[in-house]
Amino acid sequence: MGKRILIVDDDPLLVKLLQHKLSSNGYDTVIAHDGADALRSVSANKGRFDLIVLDAMMPEIDGFEVLRKLGQHQSTKKIPVVMLTARRKEQDVVAGLSLGARDYLVKPFMPDELLTRIGRILN
């Protein structure tokens, strides 16, 4: 059974790119377009995601808030999260990592590198 990855980003082009990259490498992908969507998806799927790729800048519930909410429940705490965002100031990186993100990638990023890191986390 393939691993399931939740992609959370409001940029359609990026979503397309990630979806293609990940599914052509054997992962199942689910999309969420913003934070609220993401949290709904997680609870609807009873937290059965193997990994989440998370953007920071999204309306209302941004990536950091999603991280916070995920960290508050036992069932979702352990889902590894890789942040992928244009927010690259030091305080943002620190914030993301201290909120529990397993990794923090800054845009512009290398899709192959993301793939490698995801692979390492999942194995």
Binding site: L13, L14, L17, K107, P108, F109, M110
Partner: protein, 346 residues
């Protein structure tokens, strides 16, 4: 017909005309909706193609040969979005795609012949994706009649890290109604490391006078200690307070202890922006001898200076902390600042 009556008929005419124009625009909009719909679908097709072609590095010559001018415009649009999104292999392959499909060539043409905003866009595209030949075109654009195009070309060259002549760059950017803009800061910082010598020379050359703040700022980013004497001299004796402040900021970035004299001088400067930068620099470089003077600045008449001084003291470890505690005991505005800084840094 009298004047008054003609007002009436005139106004009717005008309103009738405007209603007609509005009607025309509505029709145009209706048409546009259809066109936009097609455009969006085509864009979707193109992006799907790109996403697949980039990943497997498997272009489809058939598909690509059938691309037309509008497709190239769409690709150019997507190009800038992609540039902000990805780098590395993907971007290299995309650059190749842009070349193959003629988008780069189209951009070079636009750079020469388009309207102002088209030239600016083309400059940006070429800054991101252009090759050697494009760099030449960009360099020529430093003489463009539109200042925004010149700035875009300069930025593009800075992002690529290459420019034939810093002199030419400075020349093109000086002669303009450009007031100080931090975009220029970005441009010169981009050349700070590779063209440090020229920048240092230009900072003292009359031709660089409009751009001196940016040149001095760039020197701070160059990591070049041989520029220290120049910076120290500027910080201590330039008649313009902005230059003195910039020089101190640059010294703070370079972080070399030789800056001590400039810092001491700056801490007692008559202009407050200079004192603020001196206090910052003292902390950035870690100049212990400056601590007593920084301590005095916590009682400066200007609040920003007091605030910065207290912040700087807090980064001097034990010594600074002790100073803050001493100050906090007084009955002065400075004491208030010290107290609050102590509280915050706990």
């Amino acid at each position: 017909m009298g004047l008054l009556e003609s007002l009436w008929w005139g106004s009717l005419l005008l309103s009738g005309l405007s209603i007609l124009i509005a009607g025309g625009l509505v029709a145009m909009r209706a048409v546009n909706v259809v066109i936009e719909g097609r455009r969006a679908r085509r864009r979707d097709e193109l992006t799907t193609y790109i996403v697949v072609a980039l990943d497997a590095d498997s272009p489809t010559p058939d598909f690509e040969s059938r691309l037309n001018g509008r497709d190239r415009d769409l690709l150019a649009e997507v190009a800038m979005e992609l540039f902000e999104m990805v780098k590395g292999g993907h971007l290299e392959r995309f650059t190749a795609l842009l070349k193959r499909t003629g988008v780069i060539d189209a951009a070079r043409r636009r750079l020469r012949q388009g309207k102002s905003f088209q030239r600016v866009r083309a400059a940006r595209l070429l800054g991101a994706y252009g090759d050697e030949a494009a760099a030449d075109d960009l360099f020529l654009r430093l003489r463009d009649r539109d200042v925004n195009v010149r700035l875009a070309a300069a930025t593009a060259l800075a992002d690529r890290g290459e420019v034939r002549s810093m002199w030419e760059l400075v020349h093109s950017l000086s002669y303009a109604a450009i007031r100080s803009t931090p975009r220029l800061r970005h441009v010169f910082r981009g050349f700070a490391v590779q063209h440090a010598d020229e920048i240092i020379a230009l900072a003292t050359d009359p031709i660089g006078r409009h751009l001196r703040p940016f040149l001095i700022d760039a020197i701070g980013h160059s990591g070049r200690f041989d520029a220290l004497p120049f910076l120290i001299d500027t910080a201590m004796s330039d008649p313009d307070k902005q230059m003195r402040a910039e020089a101190l900021a640059a010294l703070g970035r370079l972080g070399h202890p030789d800056a001590v004299d400039a810092v001491i001088g700056g801490l007692v400067d008559s202009e407050w922006p200079v004192r603020v930068q001196a206090a910052k620099c003292a902390a950035a470089v870690g100049i212990g001898e400056a601590v007593p003077l920084v301590e005095r600045l916590v009682e400066d008449p200007v609040w920003w200076v007091r605030h910065q001084a207290a912040e700087s003291l807090s980064s001097f470890g034990e010594v600074g902390h002790a100073a803050l505690e001493r100050l906090a005991l007084h009955n002065t505005p400075g004491a208030l600042v010290a107290q609050r800084t102590l509280f915050e840094k706990r």
